[in-house]
């Protein structure tokens, strides 16, 4: 029988190549534990956005069912990851003048300045996904974490705002709702990946999290403990496969296989002059391909992609922040030599992402593809912790647990 646990947190990522659902649980000590994982190949998704609802829905259902079975729970609500070329991030500053005679900064002043920073002039079809507080400035002094109780006359705050086109995000929300699931919150997938991978020390040092997905590349820059920059490019592993299919004149499914088997982010010295023979189902040779071409096509695409990201960071003025390291995740992190390529482009140490401070299934935690969904769970757990457990809520919880026990017996 399924148990309904109030401490259940589910992250759902509808990616371009696969749908991934991760079930986490907050145990009695308050630590997050991953207890279930479900995945299904995604269909009807292009460049991170849903293009065919019916088939995409089926993929999501499969993933959810698999996760439910593995964790032996019933999933009712999820934290949903969203991405797509329309998602953008920028920094905004709110200003508030402290008017009280003693110029003590009160709680109201803080909430006012944050409110000011959040009033942003967005196109009317866009809506905010996240607004993350960065740092306070007091009379022009930077780097103040909490100004409450300090003295000053001009209080400013920087927030990082991630926004996207409402309708395009609504598509995936609707799809999930059609499966009778409640969407707790939508979360930008890049942010989720960063949460899964970065320790607070790394956030402080400055880091770039690069999620090389199937249809999109999401990236987030952290520095001084806060988000500095986010971005999405609608280029991913699909493009690599498409390039290979076009360049080597093979069907897309074959290109996909070749990519996994022979792909490389750099042209191997050893592969120069080598050829691959592809065979059909009967094991008869169909075609001979030049391995060097394959790797060159692939490396050109990946290099271009990383260059574009680098250029964007440069334009946003955050490139110097990432000296702490570049952390790769997503399916693209599995490409051989990708770390080497990224290192040469970003001039920073590159490592493949790993989760931290989460315990649970070893098999799930090791895979770069699952990091985003795990990050969604982590996001959920942070949200849950923030929820104040008042007197009423605790009574409610006790009552409901008694009630469910009665019903199940």
């Amino acid at each position: 029988m399924f148990e309904a646990t109030p401490n259940l947190i589910v992250g759902l990522e509808i990616g371009t190549s696969k749908v991934c659902a991760v079930v986490g649980e907050i145990n009695d000590e308050g630590a997050l534990n991953i207890i279930g994982l479900g995945q299904a190949p995604a269909r009807g998704v292009r460049k991170g956005e849903i293009v065919e609802t019916a088939v995409a829905e089926e993929s999501v259902r499969q993933a959810i069912v698999e996760a439910e079975q593995m964790a032996n729970v019933e999933i009712c609500n999820v934290y949903l990851g969203v991405t797509g070329a329309h998602v953008r991030g920028f920094n905004n500053r709110g200003v508030h003048r402290v008017l009280s005679a003693d110029r003590d900064i009160t709680k109201d002043d803080v909430s006012d300045v944050v409110k000011n920073a959040r009033t942003i002039n967005l196109p009317k079809e866009n809506s905010i996904i996240h607004d993350v507080r960065q740092h306070f400035l007091l009379d022009g002094h930077e780097g103040i974490v909490n100004p409450e109780g300090m003295v000053g006359s001009l209080l400013e705050v920087d927030v990082h705002v991630v926004h996207g086109v409402t309708n395009r995000m609504e598509n995936s929300v609707r799809l999930v709702q059609n499966l009778n699931l409640v969407v707790n919150e939508i979360v930008f997938t890049g942010l989720a990946s960063a949460l899964a991978m970065l320790s607070s020390e790394q956030k402080e040092l400055g880091a770039l999290v690069l999620d090389l997905g199937g249809g999109t590349t999401n990236y987030v820059v952290y520095a001084n403990g806060v988000i500095k920059h986010t971005g999405v490019f609608a280029i991913g592993g699909d493009h690599v496969s498409n390039d290979l299919g076009h360049g080597l004149k093979v069907p897309l499914s074959r290109a996909e296989k070749l990519k996994l088997e022979f792909g490389s982010a750099l042209v191997d010295e050893a592969s120069k002059g080598r050829t691959i023979t592809i065979t059909n189902e009967m094991n008869l040779p169909v075609k001979t391909l030049n391995l060097e071409h394959l790797q060159r096509i692939m490396s050109m695409r990946l290099e271009e992609l990383l260059q574009i990201v680098r250029q964007d960071l440069e334009e946003a003025g955050v490139l110097h922040y990432i000296q702490g390291g570049v952390f790769l995740c997503g399916g693209g992190a599995r490409i051989p030599h990708i770390a080497q390529l990224a290192e040469s482009i970003f001039q920073a140490p590159v490592s493949l992402g790993q989760t931290n401070s989460i315990s649970g299934l070893k098999s799930a935690l090791d895979q770069p593809e699952f990091l985003t969904a795990i990050g969604l769970v982590k996001y959920g757990s942070m949200r849950k912790r923030k929820e104040p457990v008042g007197f009423l809520t605790s009574i409610q919880r006790v009552l409901s647990s008694i009630l469910t026990q009665r019903l199940t017996h």
């Binding site: 070329a85 609608a234 280029i235 076009h246 360049g247 050109m300 695409r301």
Partner: protein, 423 residues
């Protein structure tokens, strides 16, 4: 020119500013003329030609020409292009006189109806015979306007292409991409009319405004003369510090350019930039670089003009011309019926582009011979259609929203864009 008065096409001497006539034909054309009757187009001779008395009366154009035979009783052609055609033939000399004395003649018409589709080819021919450069700006009807109108418009377009130097054609159906479901019918037509006006304005500015990098009429002539080109155009505008990037983005996403594909297919591209005195060479460079990258095999002509009033704004007009693959139709053949040929294509080898009057004569001869042949057979001629041989490099992203970054379509394989050789 006194030496040779008998030349077939007595090319007018171009001295100083060219003399430009804008002729609006049919109800739509005359209507559009009204929008062109502003101070911006001062110096242009506007001529309105139609068969419909009330429409003509309402037109502010200084010169009006009513083609009115008795049998129509001033009621117009009733949507029949054949009637319009016959009527125009009847008044051929009058039309020719109206066209005389101009270096450039711009024809404005909405094809599909009787007057627009019937008269425009004849005027184009009359204008051509006066030696002027003839550019036609026409719209094709919406698909929902019915088969007959569409077929009539198509047939007329082919005829115009055969006689005019250049045709810039705006299929209204493409303009439909610019509107949403809630746009009213009136607005839709004014949008498509507005687009056409933009094109005319672009060409007008090109020819009349003193430019930093000027496009001379001679350039325009060289680009379109005798090539029977079929063109698409786009006009985009932007302001602010990132304007050069924005205009390129807008241009490549422009529905009339098929999201940039039209540039790729064109043989000749004319780019006209217009901005305030703050236009920098860097910006010109940036815009041109992106555009030329899109159309590598085309001949690109660019011009830049500066207008004091355009502080902080930048507009780009692009006219991309593809040399017509459509056979030159026997527009002046005896017994020619525009309505009949609608719906089936008559294949003929395109005569070599004529470059001098002698070749022109030969071409005319060829056309006449062919016309006679067609007339004799007078039966439906079968043609084996060819499937368009287009291989899209975008593969699975062909139908998805393109990923455009700084004017480059990133869905196209990188190795392909960089021109990496694969042997």
């Amino acid at each position: 020119m006194t030496t040779n008065p008998e030349t077939q096409t007595p090319a007018l001497e171009i001295t100083g500013t060219p003399v430009i006539k804008i002729i609006g034909i049919g109800t739509a054309g005359v209507g559009l003329l009204a929008t062109l009757n502003g101070p911006e187009f001062a110096g242009a001779a506007l001529v309105a030609v139609t068969t419909d008395q009330p429409a003509l009366a309402a037109s502010p154009a200084p010169h009006k020409l009513l083609l009115e035979p008795r049998e129509l009783r001033g009621l117009g052609t009733g949507g029949d292009a054949e009637r319009g055609y016959a009527l125009a033939e009847e008044h051929f000399t009058t039309l020719k006189t109206a066209c005389a004395g101009a270096n450039v003649i711009l024809l404005v018409a909405g094809l599909g109806g009787g007057a627009g589709s019937g008269i425009t080819p004849v005027i184009a021919r009359a204008a051509r015979e006066t030696g002027a450069l003839v550019l036609a700006f026409v719209t094709l009807p919406f698909e929902c306007e019915g088969n007959r109108r569409c077929a009539q418009a198509r047939a007329s377009l082919d005829q115009i292409k055969a006689v005019a130097d250049g045709v810039i054609c705006l299929p209204n159906q493409k303009a439909a991409k610019l509107i949403d479901d809630k746009t009213s019918v009136l607005e839709t037509y004014s949008i498509s009319g507005g687009l056409l006006t933009e094109a005319i304005r672009g060409v007008w500015q090109l020819m009349t405004r003193p430019g930093l990098i000027q496009i001379h009429l001679a350039d325009l002539c060289a680009l379109v003369r005798d090539k029977n080109s079929e063109g698409v155009f786009a006009f985009v505008e932007s302001s602010g510090p990132a304007r050069s990037r924005e205009v390129v983005e807008k241009l490549l996403a422009h529905p009339l350019l098929d999201e940039g594909r039209a540039l790729n297919e064109s043989d000749a591209v004319l780019v006209s930039l217009m901005a305030g005195v703050d236009l920098t060479m860097g910006e010109v460079n940036r815009v041109m670089e992106q555009i030329t990258r899109q159309c590598e095999r085309a001949q690109v002509i660019m011009g830049a003009a500066v207008d004091e009033a355009w502080q902080n704004r930048l507009s780009v007009t692009v006219i991309a011309a593809k040399h017509s693959q459509v056979p030159v139709l026997p527009a002046d053949a005896p017994g020619y019926r525009p309505g009949r040929i609608a719906g089936r294509a008559t294949p003929t080898p395109t005569p070599a582009p004529a470059t001098n009057p002698l070749l022109m004569q030969q071409r005319e001869q060829l056309i006449k011979q062919h016309a006679a042949a067609v007339h004799r057979k007078n039966g439906p001629k079968m043609k084996q259609e060819m499937l368009p041989l287009v291989t899209s490099s975008k593969g699975r992203f062909d139908k998805s929203e393109p990923t455009i970054h700084k004017g480059e379509d990133l869905d196209v394989p990188t190795y392909f864009r960089r021109g990496m050789p694969l042997n």
